[in-house]
């Protein structure tokens, strides 16, 4: 079903790994802190860590690191043959932290530009997690909805206007 799986951040990478094992699919894992991957078993050439000491659960800070280092991210992906030829890609991200969401938008933009089909698996934190996990997850979710999920409404509005004009 999937040609390639990407995990971003600690939670997202662990979910991605279970999907990769179960679907027998190649995968790559991204993080902004080495400590989160201390017991994470995956081939070294499938892991990219931009270690600047983590993000302190700040998605904007995380995204800043990823954007500054995106050449490295792109080179890493381009070096993965199965990613290059993949059409259907699953991306797993935990919404509550800063690493997964930090990688998420730059990765999605890059892959959409390359006409990849993407299924995003996005987790919302438990109620007890509180601040900053819940606001982080909701704000990133809002941005996802605005950026990627509302196209159909916009198209419909455009259609309606066109019909009105033609009438």
């Amino acid at each position: 079903m999937f040609d390639f799986i990407i995990g971003a951040g600690q939670g997202g990478s662990r979910i991605a790994k279970e999907f990769a094992n179960s679907f027998e699919c190649d995968a790559a894992y991204f993080n902004l802190s080495n400590v989160d991957f201390s017991k994470f078993e995956a081939p070294r050439n499938r892991i990219l860590v931009l270690d600047e000491g983590g993000t302190g659960r700040n998605p904007e800070f995380g995204e800043g690191i990823v954007k500054r280092n995106f050449i490295e991210v792109r080179q890493f992906l381009v070096g993965l043959k199965r990613f290059e030829s993949a059409q259907f890609i699953m991306v797993c991200v935990g919404g509550g932290g800063g690493s997964g969401t930090g990688f998420m938008f730059p990765l999605l933009d890059y892959m959409l530009k390359r006409k990849k089909e993407i299924l995003l698996v996005y987790t919302l934190p438990e109620r007890r997690e509180g601040i900053p996990a819940k606001p982080n997850a909701l704000m990133s979710l809002n941005r996802l909805i605005e950026s990627y999920l509302q196209e159909i409404q916009i198209k419909r509005l455009v259609c309606c206007r066109l019909i009105t004009i033609s009438v």
Partner: protein, 210 residues
């Protein structure tokens, strides 16, 4: 996009007695994986032809049916499953609302396209009303989704099943009471934090030496 409500999944797949955090979350993650994988398995039923009979059913799901829904570009995706002990779909309309495997409360009425598969125990083939039951399930789910027209329906008989399994893969969902609850809970947390107040200026009036 497949939203996962960790609170919901922890209740569904977690186990408080688990020995450590790693295994605890692994169990939750595996629950998610299995929820999605069952649809993938349904597109490969020919591998299980020794005990699955698709020809006797409605139609088989194919790979592109599932891909079209999973990679649907707009709205949320949800995976639901309902199990019936006998040929009676009376509770379906109530149960379908809370049958999600990954997210508690996306509103099924807002779905734009879906795949439904009904798995029936093989030895029920000759039971009266089985095929009517399948039609009834399709009709009721159609009603729940406000008759969204983009639908893939399938059914099969399986020797390994002892009960009826109704699996649903929904796409294009746009509303969720659960999300509203999470937003409310987050707003409450922020308010609570704000109400803790700032450091107060010290009252040093008694320290002033006359």
């Amino acid at each position: 996009m497949l939203p996962i409500d960790n609170d919901f999944c922890v209740k569904r797949y977690g186990n408080e007695i688990e020995d450590d955090g790693y295994n605890y979350w692994r169990r939750v993650n595996l629950g998610l994986v299995r929820a999605l994988k069952r649809f993938w398995l349904m597109t490969n039923l020919e591998k299980y032809k020794n005990y699955i009979d698709v020809a006797s059913g409605y139609k088989g799901l194919d790979r592109n049916d599932v891909l079209r829904i999973v990679f649907s570009k707009h709205g949320f995706i949800d995976i639901r499953e309902m199990i019936f002990e006998d040929i009676n779909a009376d509770q379906l309309l109530q149960r379908i609302k809370s049958a999600s495997l990954v997210f508690g409360s996306l509103d099924i009425r807002t779905t734009k396209r879906y795949a439904i598969s009904v798995g029936i125990p093989d030895d029920w083939k000759r039971k009266d009303g089985v095929l009517d039951f399948v039609e009834q399930v399709f009709d009721m789910v159609s009603k729940s989704t406000k008759h969204t027209p983009d639908v893939v329906r399938s059914s099969y008989f399986n020797k390994k099943l002892s009960r009826i399994h109704v699996s649903l893969l929904l796409a294009g969902l746009s509303k969720s009471h659960g999300l509203e609850k999470i937003v409310k809970s987050a707003v409450k947390d922020v308010r609570k934090l704000r109400d803790k107040g700032d450091v107060e200026k010290l009252d040093l009036s008694d320290l002033i030496i006359p």
